[in-house]
Symmetry: C2
Subunit: 426 residues, 2 copies
Amino acid sequence: MSEYRGYNGKVLEFLKQNKLKVGDTIKITTDSEQTATIMPRYEHSDDTHLVVKFKSGYNVGFGLDKIKKIEYLSGVESSQESGKPISYDPALPKILLLSTGGTIASRIDYRTGSVTPALNAQELNASVPELAEIANIDAEVLFSEYSENITPEHWIKIAQKLDSLAKSEYAGILVAHGTDTMQYTAAFLSFALAGFPKPIVLVGSQRSSDRPSSDAALNLIGATKFIIKCKTSGVFVAMHNSENDDDTACHLGTRVRKNHTSKRNAFETVGAKPAFIISGENVVQNFSGKYYTQKDYTPKIKIDPKVALVKYHPGYDPKQVEYLLELGYKAIIFEGTGLGHVGKSMYDIIKKAKEQNVFLGMTSQCLDGQVNMAIYESGRDLMHFGIIPLSNMIPEIALVKAMWVLGNDANIKEVMLKNIASEFTE
Amino acid sequence: MSEYRGYNGKVLEFLKQNKLKVGDTIKITTDSEQTATIMPRYEHSDDTHLVVKFKSGYNVGFGLDKIKKIEYLSGVESSQESGKPISYDPALPKILLLSTGGTIASRIDYRTGSVTPALNAQELNASVPELAEIANIDAEVLFSEYSENITPEHWIKIAQKLDSLAKSEYAGILVAHGTDTMQYTAAFLSFALAGFPKPIVLVGSQRSSDRPSSDAALNLIGATKFIIKCKTSGVFVAMHNSENDDDTACHLGTRVRKNHTSKRNAFETVGAKPAFIISGENVVQNFSGKYYTQKDYTPKIKIDPKVALVKYHPGYDPKQVEYLLELGYKAIIFEGTGLGHVGKSMYDIIKKAKEQNVFLGMTSQCLDGQVNMAIYESGRDLMHFGIIPLSNMIPEIALVKAMWVLGNDANIKEVMLKNIASEFTE
C-alpha cells in the first residue's frame, strides 16, 4: 500500500511538504486542536481534502484551507500486542475458542485504514479479561479469513475440527467468525454435526475490537455464559440483542439471518424471537416451538456445492437456468415470489430441469412466512412440474442444506423435507 | 381440470359411489353436520382422505372412516356476479381504478380450488360499496395477470396508460395489482413517471375478496382516502399496516418490500416507518427523511431488461457471471454480503466484466442498512475493480432502476447514483 494512497494534486503536495504520510498520528488545528490519524483516500478523491480518523473512530475530511496547523506526533502504530498468559482456575469450566477470522479477530490497520484479520484467538481472549473469571478458555486459530472468503471447503475444516472435539473435556466451543456469511456456516454445522453433544456457538462482531463501539466483548462474554448455563446442545449464533450493550441473543443456527449491514443487533431469528437471551447472569429460553435435533450424533461432513440459488424477478431470463443445467448443477433452490411462485416464462426450463433429474426446491424471497403452492394456479402448476415446496426454510439455509444433502445422502427429496436441525419451525 | 382431480384409490371410489365431484356443495356429517365444498387434491395424496372447504375459508381433510354421512346439495357455484351500476355524486372527487389483475381482482374457483383472476375492476368497485360514498370511481381493466407473470413489457403498458392520464380530471389513480411483484412495478413506475402530477397508488390484497379474512376492502378504502387527502404526488403502495383491520400503510414505491408470504401486513418500508398511515379519516405523514422527486414531469418510459441480480454466497460459482457476459448483459447488481462484499473467487470475473464495460453495482443481501465498501479490504478491492456502491438502495429496486436507466439514459453510473424517487434515503 502506498504511503500516500489515494491522494493527489494539492493534498499530495501538502502531505509531502509537511513530511506526513498515511498512518501518521498528527495534531491538527482547524477551529479546534485534535489528535488524529491520517487516513488513506479511495477512488474519485478530489485534491483539496485531507481525511483523518479521530480516536472516537470517526473519519473526517478537512479542506486544506481550513487547516491552520498540522504537526507530526508519531508514526504508524505497531500492529499487534502480544497476549497475556492465561491463568487457570480448576473450579471453572473449560471452553475452546476456535478462531476462523472476521472482524471479531481483527483490528484497523492504520497504514491502509482498512480492517484486517490480525489478532489471534489468544490475544482476543486476553483483550476481554472478564472471560477468565467465568471460564478457562483455550484458544486456537484454525485459519484467518474474512467471512466473505469462507468457502464450503472451510466449512468442512471447521466441522472436522469440531467433530474431533465431540468427546473432549470442553463444556462447549466458541467459533469466532466473520459476520458476513456466519449464517451459512452456522447452517452447515447444524446439518453436518446434528446431534453434537455440546453447544457450538458462533460469535462475531460488527465493529472491530479496537473501536470504542465494538460489540466484540459483550458478544464473547454472552456466548461464554450461554455455553456454561444453557444445558442444551446444538449450533447457535450469539450476537447483540439490541443496539445497547446489554443482552446477547442466541439464535438457532438454521433460523438466523443477518438483516442489517452495520447495526450491532443485525442478526435476527426469522419469524420468531431468538432461541435464548443472555441477560446479565440469566439465560432465558425464548424458543417456543419444538426444537428438532438428532438424538444420536452421527456426523456427516461431506458437501457437494453444485447447487444454485435462483431469485426470480420480472424480466428474469430463463436462459440463466439453462446454463446451470449445462454446468451440471444437481439442485436449484428457487427464491420465488410471495407464496412460492415464478412466472410462466420459466415453465419450459423447469420442465427440462426436471427431466434431467435436477432437484428443484421452492422458498420465498419474502424470507418470512411459509411457502404454500396449493393456493394459486402458478404454485399448482409448479408442483405439477415437480418443484418441491420447502415450507418456511430460509432460502440461504435451503441452499446450504441441499449442498450438504447432495454430499451425504442418496435421496435428496426425502432429506430436504425432513427436519434435521430446526430448519423448519411451526 | 378433472372432476376428480387428485383423488385416487378408495376416496375416488367413494366419490363415484356417492355421485359427487370436485366443486360440489355437500352436507357432511362426522362428529357434527356441516355444509362444505369438495376441494381437489394435489400431489402425493393418500387415498383415504376427502378434502373440503368450509364457508369460513378453511380446508379440512376427513378420513373416510370418520364420515358418517355425505349428501349432495348443489353443483359448482356460478363463478361471477355482475357488478351494480355505479352512481355519480358531482361533489366527490374522481378517481380511476386501473386493474392489472392479482388477488385483489380474483376469487376462488370452486371447480379447481385455486384462486384465479376473475372480477373486473367495476365488479370490485361494486363489491366495496363504501367507496362510492367518498369518491366517484371509474374502473378500467388494463389486463388481468397474476403478478408473478408481470413482465417489464407490462410495466411499460401500465406506465403508458398512466402517462395518458397525467392531465386528466382524476384526483389520482389506483392500480389494482398482484402482491407478488408489486414492489418491482412500483419501482419502475416511480422512475419512469418521476414527477407525475398526481398520486399513483398500487393496491393489492393478500387474501381474495370472497374470503372472510380478505384485506381487499380496507386496502381499497385506505388507498382511496389517501388519494383524496394526501396532497402529495408520487408512486405508493397501500396495504394493511397491521394484522388488524384498522390502519392502511402507504409506502414509497422505491422503499417497499414484501417481507412475509401471507400476512396482511406483509409489506414494509425497509429501514423506516411507512411514508403515510391512513387511520380512520386521518392521513398521518410518517416520512421523516427528505422526499426526493422530480419537479418537472418528463416521463421516460423505456426499458432494457439486460440486467442481472447476482446474490453472492459461499460456493457461488463465478462461471454463472461468465455466462451473463456471454449473454450480453449490460449491468449486474450484486447482492453482496454484509457491507457489500463478495469473495476473492469472484475477482477475476469482475475484472473481466469491467473490461467489457458492464455496469457493476453493489447492494447488500442484508436488505436493511447501507453498503459501505471503504471499511474492509474486500470492499476496497471491489471498488478498485470498478464496482459502484449503491448506498442503501434495496437490491430489487436497484435491479429495476438499472433496467430503466439502460433503456433511457446514456450515463448509467451517473443516473444510478442520482436520487430519482427516494430510492436512497438518509
